[in-house]
């Protein structure tokens, strides 16, 4: 059989609280440049009125987190919107681009912060590794980029996109 090249990294023997996992993927400007290359975007922020908020809630089943709609109008009539959702244990900023007809073109996660609330431990479970070899110690506090095990559902982002489509129909479609 093929040997998968992996090796175990021992964790520090001390149990230290893990830092919250925060990842920044793109800035707003990078997302704008990617979704609307070579196009001028005009900032067109709106403050949602109570009536608009209830219309959005009625249409999408989701309430806006913020009354401030962060939208930019593109030269081709499309829209670029930055929004936030709160999951069970995380806070996510994402960007959506709509074409001139209000159809979703792209969704990109800009950043998310996740609090694990767990602790790093160094229990005896490492003995169960097959083919274990000593590795170098792991720098605690280093940014954690890859975590095994799926815990984050993207459902709240999907719900957020549905809410933004209702926001478009309620607020932006009329110019």
């Amino acid at each position: 059989m093929t040997r998968i090249p992996y090796r175990i990294l021992p964790l520090a023997a001390l149990a230290l609280p893990f830092p919250a996992h925060a990842t920044v993927y793109m800035t707003v400007e990078q997302a704008q440049a990617q979704m609307f290359p070579h196009q001028a975007l005009t900032q067109s922020f709106r403050d949602l009125t109570p009536d608009q908020v209830s219309a959005i809630r009625k249409a999408s089943g989701e309430s806006p987190l913020s009354k401030k709609l962060k939208a930019w109008r593109a030269a081709d009539g499309g829209w670029f919107i930055v929004d936030e959702v709160v999951g069970k244990h995380e806070f996510i900023t994402y960007a959506v681009s709509l074409d001139a007809a209000g159809v979703v073109r792209d969704v990109e996660i800009l950043d998310y912060r996740e609090a694990y609330g767990g602790e790093v431990r160094d229990p005896r479970w490492r003995r169960q590794f097959i083919g274990k070899r000593p590795g170098q110690s792991l720098k605690l506090g280093a940014d954690i980029k890859n975590i095994s095990g799926a815990t984050l559902s993207s459902k709240h982002v999907t719900d957020g996109v549905r809410r933004l489509l209702a926001t478009y129909a309620t607020v932006l479609a009329h110019g």
Binding site: I4, Y6, R7, T23, I109, Y116, R121, P123, W125, N146
Partner: protein, 279 residues
Amino acid sequence: MADTLIRRCRPLLGTFVEIAVPAGFESAIDDGFAAVAHVHARMSFHEEASDLAALRRAPAGTAVAVDPHSITVLRIACDLHARSGGLFDVAVGAELVASGLLPQPPCHADGNWIGTTGDIVIVDDMHAVCARPMLIDLGGIAKGYAVDCAVEALAVAAVPQAVVNAGGDLRVLGDTPETVHLREADGSVIGAIELANGAIASSSSEYAQRRIGQSVASPHLGRNRQPIWADRAVTICADRCVIADAMTKIALADPALAESMLETLGGEIVARPVRERAL
């Protein structure tokens, strides 16, 4: 080094899919996401335009035209079903709908969903038949397959080094090792490994279960198709993420069987973390 990789993330496959490539190869990221989005569209249980919806709408015994990628995944599923003596079964949609883990599809009332993966007949690279009615759910295998497709798309674009991570189903392209932190079923991080040129996937009943009303449902079914409860996460490394992903389901129910299957499939159980017992 890994710290210099450009990372991007999109909500796909019911999770967050992250693709990381070296600076200068950013344009290939879109190819990777396009490959994942294609798998998502063809193999989603939730979308009526998917191949799974076409398979469940068609009368049993009729050939259904599906995407070649769906055929590839069904072939792997049939192979794992045979190798595991029926333990790995993608025809568990009926049970998962009954337990509330999956929504009722529109055609749900029409069928007596009695088929198993053993009733799937692959006709050719574009057609499959369900000999008996069944609700196929690829939730235990398609994520890993999508990761493999993304890695292939990046390799085609001549990306020398990349990481694709679909909510913990992860594959590293290239010789530069990537550090992966292992999570225990309770969410705590308990260790780390370095991985190069390979895939890793983890599973645990605990982070897959859903509380539904008064009861708790698990998507992992054992040999009797009853929900199984492994209170420990299992982590598997393999050449391909589709194998790592699917084999975690078998390992949760029967670790010894998974181990012997991995001997021939090219992979191994890396970790079965033991939870610290209270003294």
